[in-house]
C-alpha cells in the first residue's frame, strides 16, 4: 500500500495498535506490519513524529524505561485517546459502509 494513501490514516492506525497495550516504537511498527499482513509500507521513521503528534493531542502518553541496558520509550493510550479511537472506528465503519454501498454494489461490481 502506498505511503501517501496511509498518511491520512496513520493516527487512527497507531491508536488502534496501542489499544489495550503499552508498546515501544519498534514494537508498534512491527504490530502495524503484522496487523496488515505486511501490506503497510510506510517509512518507519514517520511513525515517531506521528506518536509525538498524538502525545501533543493528549491521546497517548510515553514513559522512558531501561530494558536490557537500552533506554526505551513506551507509549500507551490515554482515556482521551481511547475515546478518539472509538470515534475513528465509528467514522471508518460509516465511511466503508457508504463507499461499499456504491463501489461494492454498483453494476460495474458485477461485471
Amino acid at each position: 500500500m502506498k505511503p501517501d494513501a496511509l498518511r491520512g490514516h496513520l493516527d487512527a492506525l497507531l491508536l488502534a495498535t496501542l489499544d489495550g497495550r503499552q508498546l515501544h516504537g519498534y514494537a508498534i511498527i512491527e504490530a502495524l506490519q503484522q496487523g496488515s499482513g505486511g501490506a503497510l509500507d510506510l517509512p518507519t521513521g514517520t511513525v515517531y513524529p506521528a506518536l509525538r503528534r498524538l502525545e501533543r493531542a493528549g491521546h497517548v502518553v510515553s514513559d522512558w524505561s531501561t530494558v536490557g541496558g537500552r533506554k526505551r520509550r513506551t507509549y500507551r493510550l490515554t482515556q482521551a485517546g481511547q475515546r478518539a479511537l472509538n470515534a475513528e472506528r465509528s467514522a471508518w465503519r460509516e465511511f466503508t459502509t457508504v463507499i461499499d454501498g456504491v463501489l461494492g454494489g454498483g453494476k460495474w461490481a458485477q461485471q
Binding site: 516504537g25 519498534y26 526505551r72
Partner: protein, 230 residues
C-alpha cells in the same frame, strides 16, 4: 563510540546526519535520536533474525526508516512545536508574575507614586494603562494559543502550528517590550528623576528587562526552529 565507527556504521551515520539537521531543545533532540537509534537497532536485529548479514541488516534498517531529509523535516516540525509550547508556557506564567512582582515591590519599597505636581496628560495615562494591561493580555493570548494548539494538534500541520506559536510568542514579547519602553520614555519626558528615585526598584527594573530579553531570545529561537529547513 569512536569516530571511525560513526563513519562506517550505517545506523550511527544516519543518526549523526539526522542530529546535525535538527534544532530545538537539547533534551528533546537527544530523546528523538535515542529513540531513532533504538528503533534502527531493533529493526537490524529483526533482519539479522531473518538471515541477513549484519552489515546488510543495518543498511536495510536505515533504508526502511526513510530518507534522512524527509524524516528530519518531520522531526523538526515536532521539535519546533515543542519549543513553541515551552516558550508559550513561560510567557503565560512569567509575564503576569513579573508585572505583579514589580508592582508589589513598588508599593512595598516606594509606596504609591507621588503626583507629578499636576495631573499627567491623557497620553501619559493611556500609556500607563496600556502598559499595565499588556502583560496580562500577552499572557492570556499565549494561554489561548496553547489551548488551540492542543485542540488542533491532529487537525493542523505541525509546521503551521509551530509558526503560529512562534508568531504569537514574538508578538507577545514585542508588545511587552514596547509597553515597558514606552512608559520609561514617557516618564523620562515628564519627570526624569522619577526613573532613578529608588535603587531597589532600579534593580527590579533591570531584572524585569533581563527577563524580557531572555523571553525575546526564546521567542526568536522558536521562529528559527519553526522556519529552518532540516
Amino acid at each position: 563510540m569512536g569516530a571511525a565507527v560513526r563513519e562506517t556504521d550505517p545506523i550511527e551515520r544516519y543518526v549523526a546526519e539526522l542530529g546535525a539537521r535538527l534544532q530545538g531543545s537539547r533534551k528533546q533532540v537527544r530523546d528523538l535520536l535515542t529513540e531513532t537509534r533504538d528503533s534502527l537497532t531493533d529493526a537490524s536485529e529483526a533482519h539479522l533474525g531473518r538471515g541477513l548479514a549484519e552489515e546488510e541488516a543495518r543498511q536495510r534498517a536505515v533504508e526502511e526508516f526513510g530518507p534522512v531529509r524527509e524524516i528530519a523535516n518531520e522531526y523538526q516540525a515536532e521539535l519546533a512545536v515543542a519549543y513553541g509550547t515551552r516558550t508559550l508556557i513561560w510567557l503565560a506564567i512569567v509575564l503576569p508574575l513579573m508585572h505583579m512582582a514589580w508592582e508589589y515591590g513598588r508599593l512595598l519599597l516606594v509606596g504609591p507614586w507621588q503626583d507629578f505636581g499636576s495631573m499627567p496628560p491623557a497620553w501619559y495615562l493611556f500609556i500607563a494603562k496600556a502598559n499595565d494591561l499588556t502583560s496580562g493580555i500577552a499572557s492570556g493570548v499565549a494561554l489561548v494559543t496553547l489551548i488551540l494548539g492542543r485542540l488542533l494538534a491532529r487537525r493542523c500541520d505541525a509546521k503551521l502550528l509551530a509558526r503560529l506559536g512562534a508568531g504569537v510568542a514574538l508578538t507577545a514579547v514585542g508588545a511587552v517590550l514596547l509597553g515597558n519602553l514606552s512608559i520609561i520614555v514617557a516618564t523620562a519626558h515628564l519627570d526624569v528623576a522619577r526613573l532613578v528615585q529608588s535603587l531597589p526598584m532600579s534593580v527590579a527594573s533591570l531584572v524585569t528587562w533581563t527577563v524580557i530579553v531572555r523571553l525575546g531570545l526564546l521567542a526568536r529561537r522558536c521562529l528559527s526552529c519553526a522556519t529552518i529547513v532540516a
